[in-house]
């Protein structure tokens, strides 16, 4: 081939490979051709409210295609696509009972009444004048884990669908104890009945003792106003307790001597136990952990990997997380990133070299009170198989010889063939 022919080829846009071959063994550049383009042009301008990169648009909440309505139900935080411990506000899981209300902060009022000396009404500005507290707390739906319940196990399970009904934020607000003191609690009062400003006028019962301990009337999430989906402009944050009691769009708190036994603390958010009893007021979230990398539907190669995951407990600080690389036969201690607050999610990590052999990996967490996660068998020895809430059994991931990661949970002996049907019954399922 002469030089002229070569030029012709190039002008026709012939493959770079041909060029390399022809020009005497020059290796193809290791640098992507357009990797330096941004050095040569002006970027975009200043903008008043930032957006993430256009290349990150697939990091989104998971909304099941089987939902009957998007005005009620839940969507999931994409756990395996996030790092650190703070959930970006736009990716905090959602759970609504009558859609997201559009509350104008100028019209916002919170009224505390019932067994109080002085019924009081607060504007948003009033609430912001009180001494404030900022803490990092997880919020978890009691139905989290329901997708991990199925028997036989769901082979398309991801970390998102297994445990994505948990999110972790920095919350700022006024301690509810301050507002209650302002109104003056009457002798004999035991309960608070907080009510939301949504179409469901959502209500729950909350013991006064917990409210005086650490409950926040929050107006900020990760430094800015709470997102509408999370309760704008004001919500309750009830540290360590199930998400459903942390009433969003808070408009009213009635102080009483009895609980209300509302629909969402009787027909939902009650637990069916293995002895057939139904437990009420199962408020505290038991310890949980999940490996987010490698996790369901991911693909890995041989060599070094930093195994990563999340752990949290409503009983207190996470003290220890262990990982197993051999299907639960042996356990190794993972390292923990320091957590700022006791009821925050913590990030755990474990340095690991994968040798290419098929294996099952799992994690389990302990909190400062000594609570840990059950195996699936242990969980179902205590809870009934049609129970919808508080599933916190160890999640396993199977890594195939090809590096593909899938659900590693076992098929449970003696369970109904289609246990997955329970997924239709509550917030943690997908239909």
């Amino acid at each position: 081939m002469n030089r002229r022919k070569l030029l012709q080829l190039l002008s026709k846009g012939a493959a770079a490979g041909a060029f390399v071959k022809l020009s005497g063994g020059l290796a193809q550049s290791k640098i992507p051709p357009s990797a330096t383009d941004t050095l040569k042009v002006l970027g975009t301008t200043l903008r008043e409210y930032g957006e993430r990169s256009e290349f990150e648009k697939d990091v989104i909440r998971y909304i099941s295609p089987n939902l009957r309505s998007r005005h009620t139900g839940a969507d999931f935080t994409p756990l395996e696509k996030l790092e650190g411990v703070i959930t970006p506000s736009s990716l905090h899981f959602e759970r609504h009972h009558g859609g997201v209300p559009n509350v104008n902060p100028a019209d916002y009022r919170l009224v505390i009444h019932g067994m109080v000396e002085r019924p009081l009404m607060f504007t948003l500005q009033d609430l912001k004048r009180f001494p404030s507290v900022t803490r990092t707390y997880f919020i978890e739906c009691a139905g989290n884990g329901q997708n991990g319940y199925r028997n036989p196990p769901d082979m398309t399970l991801t970390a998102t669908r297994s445990r994505g009904l948990v999110s972790n934020s920095s919350w700022t607000g006024v301690p509810l104890s301050i507002l209650l003191k302002e109104a003056g609690i009457k002798e004999g009062a035991r309960w608070l009945i907080p009510e939301g400003q949504d179409a469901a006028a959502y209500i729950r019962s909350l013991p006064l003792e917990k409210a005086l301990e650490d409950v926040l009337v929050a107006y900020a999430q990760n430094g800015e106003a709470i997102r509408p989906e999370q309760g704008y402009p004001v919500r309750l944050v009830v540290p360590g307790w199930e998400g459903s009691i942390q009433v969003k769009w808070l408009r009213r708190i009635q102080v009483t001597d009895t609980p209300v036994m509302s629909k969402d603390e009787t027909s939902e958010y009650t637990d069916v136990m293995a002895d057939g009893k139904i437990w009420a007021f199962t408020w505290v979230m038991d310890p949980e952990s999940i490996i987010t990398y490698p996790s369901g539907l991911q693909q890995i190669g041989r060599g070094f990997h930093e195994m990563r995951g999340l752990a949290w407990s409503g009983h207190g600080r996470i003290r220890r997380v262990e990982v197993s690389l051999d299907g639960g036969r042996s356990w190794k201690r993972a390292s923990l990133e320091p957590a700022t607050d006791p009821l925050s999610v913590v990030r755990f990590k474990y340095n690991w070299v994968w040798d290419g052999r098929e294996t099952v990996i799992m994690s389990r967490a302990w909190d400062e009170k000594g609570n840990t996660q059950p195996t699936q068998e242990e969980f179902f020895a205590k809870w009934a198989r049609n129970n919808r809430y508080h599933y916190n059994a160890i999640q396993a991931w199977r890594i195939g010889a090809d590096g593909k990661v899938i659900n590693g949970d076992k098929t449970l002996a003696g369970a109904p063939a289609q246990l997955g049907a329970v997924g239709r019954g509550g917030c943690g399922g997908e239909s």
Binding site: R109, H113, A199, V260, S267, I278, T282
Partner: protein, 187 residues
Amino acid sequence: MRRKWFYLALLALALSALVLAQGRYQIGTPLNEKEVQEWNIRPSILANGVGLPPGQGTVDEGAQVYATHCASCHGTTGEGGAFTRLVSEPFPITKEVDAVDFAIGNYWQYATTLFDYTRRAMPFATPGTLSDNEVYAVVAYILYQNGVIDESEPMNAKTLPKVQMPARALLELDPTTQKRFPWLKLP
């Protein structure tokens, strides 16, 4: 001039001491009972019946209300449709019953909850549009469909709190909760 600032500072200190002595910040607008009720447009119905309004409704009247406002989502007789079942067997549930079949007659533990929830949150797309009499009536109809009350029994502030739900016998307090709040009793 300097002395004036000194006295002002002293006054400010005294005022803040007063506020802190009371343990209050003097923020918020006091409301009288009438003003509270103006805000309380979805009053909570407690399990003992406190909060139930005057009025009543019968099973027959409830059938009409149900057909008009509820059947399109919950099925002609409460068997479920696009949305939740309201009527299902067995009474009460067992640990073998699929959670999708948890309904009012076999899972709900307090009849008052049915009034509270229906008035506060139903019909789903137009909450708060039923009158108190209509709510009593549709509650009566649903309880009747579930075999919990007789056809002739009207529901009102007196009769509804007395209705015994079959699943109440299954309800217990979470032992962890009981340990932490020893005074707590389920109604």
